[in-house]
C-alpha cells in the first residue's frame, strides 16, 4: 500500500474540527467544538463524564454521525470512513474479554490480516509485554493485560493516528507507569496520539497539549504546564497569626512577602506555607466545579 500524498495544509494537521455539534434528543452533547491536532503530537482530551469527550472521539473515529460542523481526520471526513482510511487509524477500545475463546496470539494474528501493511504480530505482542501470555486464552488475562491486548489490536496495523479511550482506567500504579512507557514509545516513533482521560497526572505525563472539554465545548487548549496560565498564577502564602488564626494572602512576589513576614515575626513564621494552584485546582475551576 502506498501512503496517500498529502497537500501542504494537512502535512502537519492530523485532525481539524470546526463548529462540531451533536445533540441527543434535547441535550447537546457537543455544542460547537473546535479542535486541531498536529501530526506527531500526543493530545489529551480531558473532561468530566458527560462533557462530550466520548461523543467527540467517536465522531472522529467514524462511529457516530455529527449533526453539524466540519471534521477532517487524516484528510478524510470520518462520516464516510474508507477502507484506506481505516488502514491508517488505530483505535484502542475500552473493551475487555471480547474474544473469550481465543488466545492472545490468535486474536492479534487475525487482526493483522485485515491490514495491507501490518506489523509482525509476534513483535507487537512482545512490544505490549504479552509474550509470556501469547498462548493464554484472553479471558484468563488480568485487567491490565487485557488493556495491553486492546493496545496490540490498535497498533498492529501500524497506524499514523491512534485513539486511546481512557486507556488506564482500572490500572494499578505500576501498570500505569508501564503503559505510559508504551505510549511514549509509540509517540517517539512518530504516531499521532489522541487520548481521553479523567486523570490529570496522566495528561500531564503524556500529552504535549491538553484540551479541556466542558459542556460540549473545548474551553482551553495548552501545554499541561501552561494550562489556565498556571505558570503565571498567583501564589498563596499562608501563616498563623499570634492569636492562632490562619491568615493568607495571594501574591505575585511570594518571596518578598515571606521576607516581610519573617521580619514581622522576627524569625520563624508559624505555620508558613507557599502554594501555587495544582493542575487539578485549575482544571476544576475550568470545568466549573470551583
Amino acid at each position: 500500500m502506498t501512503r496517500r500524498t498529502l497537500d501542504g495544509m494537512s502535512d502537519d494537521v492530523a485532525i481539524r474540527v470546526r463548529g462540531l455539534r451533536k445533540t441527543y434528543g434535547d441535550s447537546p452533547a457537543v455544542a460547537g467544538l473546535d479542535l486541531d491536532v498536529h501530526r506527531g503530537e500526543v493530545f489529551a482530551l480531558l473532561g468530566p463524564n458527560g462533557a462530550g469527550k466520548t461523543t467527540t472521539v467517536e465522531i472522529l473515529e467514524g462511529y457516530r454521525q455529527r449533526d453539524a460542523g466540519e471534521v477532517r481526520v487524516l484528510d478524510v471526513d470520518p462520516a464516510h470512513p474508507t477502507r484506506d482510511w481505516r488502514e491508517r487509524v488505530g483505535i484502542v477500545f475500552q473493551g475487555t474479554g471480547e474474544f473469550d475463546e481465543l488466545c492472545v496470539a490468535e486474536v492479534v494474528h487475525h487482526f493483522a490480516g485485515f491490514y495491507a501493511d501490518a506489523d509482525d504480530p509476534d513483535k507487537v505482542i512482545e512490544r505490549v509485554g504479552l509474550s509470556a501470555k501469547a498462548r493464554a486464552r484472553t479471558h484468563t488475562l488480568s485487567g491490565g493485560q487485557k488493556r495491553r491486548l486492546d493496545v496490540a489490536l490498535g497498533i498492529v496495523g501500524r497506524p499514523e493516528l491512534l485513539f486511546l479511550d481512557e486507556p488506564t482506567t482500572g490500572f494499578d500504579p505500576e501498570a500505569r507507569r508501564e503503559f505510559w512507557e508504551l505510549i511514549r514509545d509509540l509517540a517517539a516513533a512518530g504516531t499521532t496520539i489522541v487520548l481521553t482521560t479523567h486523570y490529570l497526572d496522566e495528561a500531564e505525563a503524556l500529552a504535549d497539549r491538553v484540551g479541556v472539554i466542558a459542556g460540549g465545548r473545548l474551553v482551553e487548549v495548552a501545554a499541561p504546564n501552561r494550562l489556565g496560565n498556571r505558570q503565571e498564577a498567583l501564589a498563596t502564602v499562608s501563616w498563623r497569626t499570634p492569636d492562632g488564626t490562619l491568615d493568607s494572602a495571594q501574591s505575585a512576589t511570594p518571596t518578598a512577602l515571606v521576607a516581610e513576614l519573617a521580619a514581622r515575626f522576627g524569625g520563624e513564621v508559624p505555620g508558613l506555607t507557599v502554594t501555587r494552584p495544582t493542575l487539578e485546582d485549575i482544571y476544576l475551576t475550568m470545568i466549573g466545579h470551583r
Partner: protein, 282 residues
C-alpha cells in the same frame, strides 16, 4: 557505501501486501468463527448436542412403524434435521450476535479495514460447516442405531441438498435480523428460544403435522420451519406419503417459493435493521 548517484526514486513498498484477497479474508474469518464455536462448550452442546439427544430419546421411545416398512425414525429424522438446521443458523446467530455486540466485538471489527461483508461471510461459513456436520451426525446415529433408510435416488439427494441450503439461508438471514432485537447480551436467547420452540411444536417436528389443529397448521405455514420439514419428508418418506400432506403432495415448488420469500424478508431486515453497536453506544 556506493558512490554511484542514482536519481531519487520514490520508495515503493518492497514487500507485497500481506493482506489476503477477498476469498482469503472470508475463509480466515470463517475459520476463526468455527474455532470460536468449537471452543465454546455451551454452543457445541446446545447446537450440535440438542438435536442428537432428541433423536436418541424420541427414536428410543417410539420404535414402532408408522406404516408397513416405514419406521417412526424415518418420519422423526426429517423434523430433527430441520430443527438442527434452524438451531445452527437461526438460534446460534440470534443468541451469539447480541453477545458479540454487547462485548464490543462488532464495534472492534468496524474499526479495522475489514470490509463489512467479510464478517457476515465468516458467520455464513461457520453456519454451513456446522450444518453439514450436524446433518451427518444425525444421519450416522439414526442409520446405526435406528435403522434409518437413506435416500436412494439422486433426485432425493438433490432435493435434500436444495431444501437444506435454502432453509439454512432463510434461517441464517432471519437469525442475523432477529439479533438486532435483543438489547443486551443475555436477552438474545430470551428473544430467540421461544420463537424456535413454538415453531418446533407447530411445524410438525415432534408430532405428525397433519394431526395438529388446522389453525395451527395454517400459522405454521407462514414460517420456514414447516416447509423445511415438508421438503425433507419428500426426501426420507415414500412418495405415497405425499398424499397425506395438507396439500395432497409434498408441494416442493411451494416449499422453494416460501423459503425463497423468507430469504428475501430476512435479507431486507438485515440490510435495514442490523446494528454494529449496542443501543447505549448509539
Amino acid at each position: 557505501m556506493t558512490t554511484t548517484t542514482t536519481p531519487a526514486e520514490p520508495v515503493t513498498a518492497a514487500a507485497p501486501p500481506r493482506r489476503s484477497g477477498r476469498t482469503g479474508l472470508a475463509l480466515r474469518q470463517g475459520r476463526l468463527e468455527i474455532r470460536q464455536f468449537l471452543r465454546s462448550r455451551e454452543s457445541v452442546v446446545f447446537t450440535l448436542g440438542f438435536p442428537l439427544i432428541m433423536v436418541l430419546i424420541f427414536a428410543s421411545i417410539f420404535d414402532e412403524e408408522i406404516a408397513p416398512g416405514v419406521s417412526y425414525t424415518q418420519y422423526f429424522i426429517t423434523g430433527m434435521i430441520a430443527t438442527g438446521l434452524m438451531t445452527v443458523s437461526f438460534q446460534n446467530l440470534g443468541i451469539w450476535i447480541p453477545i458479540e455486540r454487547d462485548r464490543g466485538v462488532l464495534k472492534r471489527y468496524r474499526g479495522t479495514p475489514m470490509p463489512k461483508w467479510v464478517w457476515f461471510a465468516g458467520k455464513v461459513i461457520m453456519v454451513l460447516v456446522t450444518s453439514v456436520v450436524m446433518t451427518a451426525l444425525l444421519l450416522a446415529v439414526s442409520v446405526t442405531l435406528f435403522d434409518l433408510n437413506l435416500p436412494s435416488t439422486t433426485t432425493a439427494w438433490l432435493t435434500f441438498g436444495w431444501v437444506s441450503a435454502l432453509g439454512v439461508t432463510a434461517c441464517t438471514l432471519c437469525g442475523i435480523a432477529i439479533s438486532s432485537l435483543a438489547r443486551t447480551a443475555r436477552s438474545g436467547s430470551a428473544v430467540v428460544t421461544p420463537v424456535a420452540l413454538v415453531l418446533q411444536f407447530i411445524s410438525g417436528v415432534f408430532f405428525v403435522f397433519t394431526n395438529l389443529p388446522s389453525w395451527m397448521q395454517q400459522v405454521a405455514a407462514l414460517f420456514p420451519l414447516k416447509w423445511m420439514c415438508q421438503g425433507l419428508r419428500a426426501v426420507f418418506l415414500p412418495e405415497s406419503f405425499g398424499a397425506d400432506e395438507p396439500g395432497g403432495s409434498f408441494e416442493l415448488t411451494r416449499v422453494a417459493v416460501v423459503l425463497a420469500i423468507w430469504c428475501v424478508i430476512g435479507l431486507v431486515l438485515c440490510l435495514t435493521t442490523f446494528r454494529w453497536t449496542t443501543r447505549r453506544d448509539g
